[in-house]
Symmetry: C2
Subunit: 339 residues, 2 copies
């Protein structure tokens, strides 16, 4: 059997692959939220100094890679590979950012799960001896996502409370051996789970079973239990989806308790209108790269699992009456002792 694999579909990283530097940037609304003191850059408006929202989305990715690289004490020409994804058609934020940075690009797609898909792939490349230093990056933007997936914002369409607010932001991690940041210890790649849900204004419910499935697979593969974790955090299930995942896991005998949280509920303040909570690639990315890694380096958290969730539909598949295929990729981070 493949020597890095444990169980059915998890990987153990044993060479000391670590997050050498991590950064998070975000838009103005996110900048007033729970993460306001943890962001490396907050943009004053949704244009981020660009003339279109799409350009703003890639600008955030370019900027966050610069921040993460600098925090790792590196320069971008020392990075062997750019692993990136976003929510836009044909992954244009990642591709245009890779054009700017001139780092070889492996484009990845996992919708909002791209944050942990790119981080996992980065760990694979370093653990396997293919790269010395790689960067994983994702971005999302509220206005580009609305245009892409739903309606132009100018239309002013109403939304139900089950809808989520796509986070405007980007996160990046420099991955390599050494450093002082958290180790990347395990990853569990998701299978597509589709329970037949079709409502694009309730992505949390659609994604909840995929999150539960990956978390269960992770426990079975690694032999770890909920108590082994200080924090288990899903990507963007928000108020509606997150309790469903907790219930599904409880039915399987896994009681995650208070340590089970959701990034989509850790971004906005209660008085900020975000419907059921945050979503988008940047939801799990800015919480992981902006807050969790800091708290691990400060010794407040030791072992954390980030379970990034993704809804893999597009507007055409929805219009053709299809349900929403979902996926979740999990990564386990471990602190380096007393930080």
């Amino acid at each position: 059997m493949a020597e890095k694999r444990i169980g059915q579909r998890s990987w153990a990283f044993e060479r000391g692959v670590a997050v050498l530097g991590a950064a998070a940037v975000a838009g103005p609304k996110e900048g007033k939220g729970q993460l306001k003191d943890m962001l490396d850059q907050v943009y004053p408006d949704l244009y981020c100094g660009q003339d279109t929202w799409e350009k703003a989305e890639r600008k955030m990715m370019e900027d966050v890679v610069n921040h993460a690289t600098k925090k790792a004490g590196k320069k971008t020409d020392q990075i062997d590979m750019f692993l990136a994804g976003d929510l836009l058609n044909q992954n244009i934020s990642a591709s245009f950012a890779a054009r700017t940075h001139q780092i070889p690009l492996m484009g990845m797609f996992g919708a909002c799960s791209a944050s942990m898909l790119t981080l996992t792939t980065g760990a694979v490349l370093v653990e396997g001896g293919f790269c010395d230093t790689v960067v994983s990056a994702v971005s999302s933007h509220n206005a580009t996502a609305e245009r892409q997936y739903r309606y132009p914002t100018e239309y002013g369409g109403q939304k139900p409370d089950t809808a989520q607010w796509t986070v405007t932001g980007a996160g990046a991690g420099l991955i390599g051996l050494g450093g002082k940041g958290p180790l990347i210890r395990y990853a569990t790649i998701g299978k597509v789970v589709d329970m037949g849900l079709k409502n694009p204004f309730d992505m949390g419910s659609a994604m909840a079973p995929a999150a539960a499935e990956t978390i269960q697979a992770h426990f079975e593969d690694t032999g770890l239990a909920p108590d082994d974790y200080d924090l288990i955090v899903t990507g963007d299930l928000a108020k509606v989806g997150h309790p469903i995942t907790a219930d599904l896991l409880a039915e399987k005998g896994y009681d995650l308790g208070e340590r089970f949280q959701d990034c989509g509920l850790m971004i906005f303040q209660p008085d900020q209108q975000a419907f059921a909570g945050g979503s988008g690639c940047a939801s799990s990315a800015i919480v992981t790269y902006g807050r969790i890694i800091k708290e691990m380096m400060d010794g407040k958290l030791n072992r954390v699992m980030v379970v990034a969730t993704g809804a893999l539909m597009n507007p055409v598949s929805y219009q053709q009456g299809e349900s929403i295929p979902c996926i979740a990729h999990a990564v386990t981070l471990e602190g380096r002792g007393n930080g």
Copy 2:
């Protein structure tokens, strides 16, 4: 330095990672072309038995995975990972096919370069000990691509001779150790190259510099020369782009001669209207998985480099006046002696 890396950005695979099984399927027009006796399945019409073209595109991917798996003497539940990409918004062909096959999914995006991006990533996972058996798969469909990138086909828009014909088809490779198929020996991951071209009806010219850049990097990294290859084949540069790449390489001192071909010119017959030639993920995929691997197993070819080219724009980036970022990923296949 990372032990699997050679030079700046190439990888050497030394454990005997091989293509255990390969398959190609295609639409009716492709089924009458140069590959007609090399395809595992030809569909009688563009619907492939489905009620939409988008569903047809994913059906081809599902089918080709089944063919490749069977030819490798495996079953889909023995496959550890599904590495897949396509041209549709949010990679829906890959995601829905992964839902059907229930294999863990790492979604990848490289536009038409996804064929070699997924094959390379598969080789990385096996070489690095992360997986025993993986499948790489891509698909494209003429009518879904027209709808996605250009105009609905019903509109009957005219095209210039520099335009290309998106190939309807899918290709897949089972990757693992052992078997009798070609070894995957080297890979060179591309950087984004953008020379400022903006014409979506001339993708070949836009992608040509990216192909030249990756081929040159491959030679510099590996120390191999054009004479070391029986065949060097680009993905979908077609009549306009392919000679540009040859010229750019000649300027750098690399004369590729007659061994330098293009998959986009190896699919349709001269009397089939395909403008400058074939394009799409399936262009390099059906030529590689349908023809090249067969010819390698028959001993007709020994060392082959496939340089899959991709144009990383989307309609919004084009409408916003931006040029076309391009990329090329190269994989070197080697025969196993007398086959």
